[in-house]
C-alpha cells in the first residue's frame, strides 16, 4: 500500500492522510488501512483504536506509554504489510424503505427542479443508486454514504436547519445519509425512513458498518 501522509494531530494522536477529496478509491484504501491499524492496538501498548473519515485516519496514542515517532513507525509498518487492496467481505446490500417528498422530504422538489428533473425522476435517480458506507461519524451511527447519483449533485443548504427529524434521508453533493437522531443539519432532506441507524439496545448498536452497500427503496406514505 502507498505510504500516506503522516503527522501529529495534537500531542496524543497521529493523522494519516490518503488524499484530500471524497473518492471511492481513496475511501477503499482508507477502510483497508483502518482495518490494518485496528489490529495494532491489540498487541501494542499505548496505541488506540483508529478513527477513519473519507480520506484520513486518526490514530490516538498515549504519549506517556509511547512516543509520536514510535507510534508513526508502527503505523507505517502495519500499512506496509497490509493487503494492497480492500479485502472487506462483500456485504449484503441494505435496503432502506423511504417515503419521499412532502413533509418527509421538504427539499426534494427544490433539488429536483434545480437539476431539471420531475419529482418522480429525482426519486428514480436516488433510488437507483447503490451507495457505499465510507465511514460513520458526526453522531452515533450516522453513515457517510458515497456514490450518489451525479444528476442530484446538490450543495448543502446555505443555512443549516436547527432541527432535522430522526430518520431523515438526506443528500449533500453526491453524499447521502440517514439522520439517526433529531439534530441540527445542513443536508437536503429528500425523504424519511423508519429504519434506525442507531439503537443502543441492538448489538451492534450501529446498523451500518463501513464498506456496506445501501439502496433507498420508495415506500408508501403512512
Amino acid at each position: 500500500m502507498d505510504r500516506p501522509g503522516i503527522g501529529p494531530f495534537g500531542d496524543s494522536a497521529l493523522l494519516l492522510t490518503f488524499g484530500d477529496e471524497i473518492d471511492e478509491k481513496v475511501s477503499r484504501r482508507v477502510r483497508a488501512a483502518a482495518r490494518a491499524l485496528g489490529r495494532l492496538g491489540d498487541d501494542q501498548a499505548g496505541i488506540g483504536a483508529p478513527v477513519a473519515a473519507y480520506a484520513s485516519i486518526l490514530l490516538p496514542f498515549d504519549p506517556l506509554a509511547t512516543s509520536p515517532e514510535a507510534a508513526a513507525r508502527l503505523a507505517l509498518k502495519a500499512l506496509a504489510t497490509a493487503p494492497a487492496d480492500d479485502t472487506e467481505p462483500e456485504a449484503a446490500t441494505i435496503e432502506i424503505p423511504t417515503r419521499y417528498g412532502g413533509e418527509d422530504g421538504p427539499d426534494l422538489l427544490e433539488v429536483a427542479e434545480a437539476h431539471g428533473l420531475t419529482v418522480p425522476q429525482a426519486i428514480e435517480c436516488h433510488g437507483g443508486a447503490t451507495y457505499t458506507v465510507a465511514f460513520l461519524g458526526f453522531m452515533p451511527g450516522f453513515p457517510y454514504l458515497i456514490g450518489g447519483p451525479a444528476e442530484l449533485d446538490h450543495p448543502r443548504r446555505p443555512t443549516p436547519r436547527t432541527r432535522v427529524a430522526a430518520g431523515s434521508v438526506a443528500i449533500a453533493g453526491t453524499q447521502g445519509t440517514i439522520y439517526p437522531f433529531a439534530s441540527p443539519g445542513g443536508w437536503n432532506l429528500v425523504g424519511r425512513t423508519d429504519v434506525r441507524p442507531w439503537d443502543a439496545q441492538r448489538d451492534p448498536p450501529a446498523l451500518f458498518a463501513s464498506g456496506a452497500r445501501v439502496r433507498f427503496v420508495p415506500a408508501p406514505d403512512r
Binding site: 477529496e21 483504536a49 473519515a53 451492534p204
Partner: protein
C-alpha cells in the same frame, strides 16, 4: 451496611454523570464524552480510593441541591462551587472528603472562579455502563443517568457502602487547574499549521473571549483585541480530537470539548496540549484567553509533569489519611 445515596432536590444548571469517557467507539460516530476536567474528577475519585475510571457528578457553575439518604461519604474536586451543608453551615472546599449524615442537604450555590466541580461517591455513582462507559452523552441520550442531565427527584446511589474508615482527607495539591491570572492555554501546531501560517499567527497573536455559546461540545471564542482570522473555507471532513482548535469560515475559533463530534470539516491550526485540557474546562464565559505555542516534546513533558504531580499528591493524601487515622486511634 448499605450504600449511601443522594437525592436531587434541585438539579443546578447542568449536572451530569461522567467518567473518563467512552473509548474505542468513535469509529461508529460515538463521541468520547466523559468529564471535561479530567484532573478535577480524578482528584475527587482519588480522595475516596476509587478506581480512576468510575463515574462522578460533573456540576456546571451553579450546582445542584442534594439530600443524603443514609450516611454517605463524598469527595469534591474541580472548581469551588460554594458547597455547603445546610444543617451545619459547614463550607466544603474542593479537594476534601466529608461524611454526610442521613437527611443532610448539600448545596452548591456557585463560586467566584472556575466552571466545573466534581462530586465523587464511594465506588463511583452506580449507573449501568453503556458501551463500556458511564458517561452521559447528551445529544444521543447515551449513558449516565438515563442519558440526560439530572432532574429533581433523581436518586444517585454509591456503588459501594461507606465504612467508618473514611476520615477527613485533604488533597495536598490544587483540586482544580483553573488559572490564577490571565489564562494562557499552551498549544502545539495543528495539522494545518504548515499550510496556513497566517491563520496560526492570527490565532496566536490575539486575545480571545470565551463566548456564552460554549458547552460540553466546544468552547466558542469571539474576538477580543486583534482577533481576526481570514476565511480559509472548508476541508473534506476528517477525524478530530478534544482540544483541536477549529476555524470555521466565520473566523471565530471553536476549541473542541469532551462531547465533540468525531469528525469536522474546518481547518485546525493548533491543538491545546493534553496537560492544559483541565485548564480549558474551567474557563468561564466572558473570560479572556491567549494561546502560547510550544514544541511536541515540551507538550509531552508538561503532561508527564502533570501526571507525576497527581501521583505524588495521591500518595500524600493516602499517607495523610493513615496518619490521621492513627492519630484518631491513639487519641481515642
Amino acid at each position: 451496611m448499605t450504600a449511601g445515596a443522594l437525592e436531587v432536590l434541585e438539579p443546578g444548571l447542568l449536572t451530569t454523570v461522567q467518567d473518563t469517557g467512552r473509548v474505542g467507539w468513535e469509529h461508529l460516530g460515538v463521541p468520547h464524552a466523559g468529564a471535561c476536567d479530567r484532573w478535577g474528577v480524578a482528584v475527587a475519585n482519588a480522595l475516596l480510593d476509587n478506581p480512576a475510571e468510575v463515574a462522578a457528578l460533573e456540576m456546571t457553575l451553579l450546582g445542584p441541591t442534594l439530600r443524603a439518604r443514609g450516611s454517605c461519604a463524598i469527595a469534591l474536586g474541580g472548581a469551588d462551587l460554594g458547597a455547603e451543608v445546610v444543617r451545619t453551615g459547614v463550607r466544603l472546599a474542593p479537594g476534601t472528603t466529608h461524611m454526610l449524615r442521613d437527611g443532610d442537604v448539600l448545596r452548591f450555590p456557585g463560586g467566584a472562579r472556575g466552571m466545573r466541580g466534581y462530586l465523587a461517591l464511594p465506588g463511583g455513582i452506580d449507573v449501568p455502563p453503556v458501551l463500556g462507559s458511564r458517561s452521559t452523552y447528551l445529544a444521543a441520550r447515551l449513558g449516565g443517568f438515563d442519558g440526560r442531565a439530572l432532574e429533581a427527584g433523581d436518586v444517585l446511589a454509591a456503588a459501594t457502602a461507606t465504612g467508618d474508615e473514611i476520615g477527613t482527607r485533604v488533597w495536598p495539591d490544587r483540586p482544580s487547574l483553573e488559572p490564577d491570572g490571565d489564562p494562557v492555554l499552551r498549544v502545539v501546531d495543528g495539522p494545518d499549521a504548515a499550510d496556513l501560517p497566517d491563520v496560526l499567527d492570527a490565532l496566536l497573536g490575539a486575545t480571545w473571549v470565551i463566548d456564552e455559546g460554549s458547552d460540553r461540545t466546544g468552547v466558542r471564542l469571539r474576538a477580543g483585541d486583534g482577533g481576526a482570522i481570514p476565511d480559509v473555507g472548508q476541508l473534506v471532513s476528517r477525524p478530530v480530537t478534544f482540544g483541536a482548535i477549529q476555524v470555521p469560515p466565520s473566523g471565530a475559533p471553536i476549541i473542541l470539548g469532551a462531547d465533540h463530534q468525531t469528525v469536522g470539516g474546518y481547518a485546525v491550526p493548533a491543538v491545546v496540549i493534553t496537560a492544559d485540557l483541565p485548564v480549558l474546562a474551567q474557563l468561564r464565559p466572558g473570560a479572556t484567553v491567549r494561546f502560547a505555542r510550544m514544541s511536541m516534546a515540551d507538550a509531552i513533558a508538561a503532561l508527564r509533569d502533570r501526571s507525576e504531580s497527581f501521583r505524588r499528591a495521591a500518595e500524600l493524601a493516602r499517607g495523610e489519611r493513615l496518619w490521621h487515622d492513627l492519630w484518631l486511634n491513639t487519641a481515642g
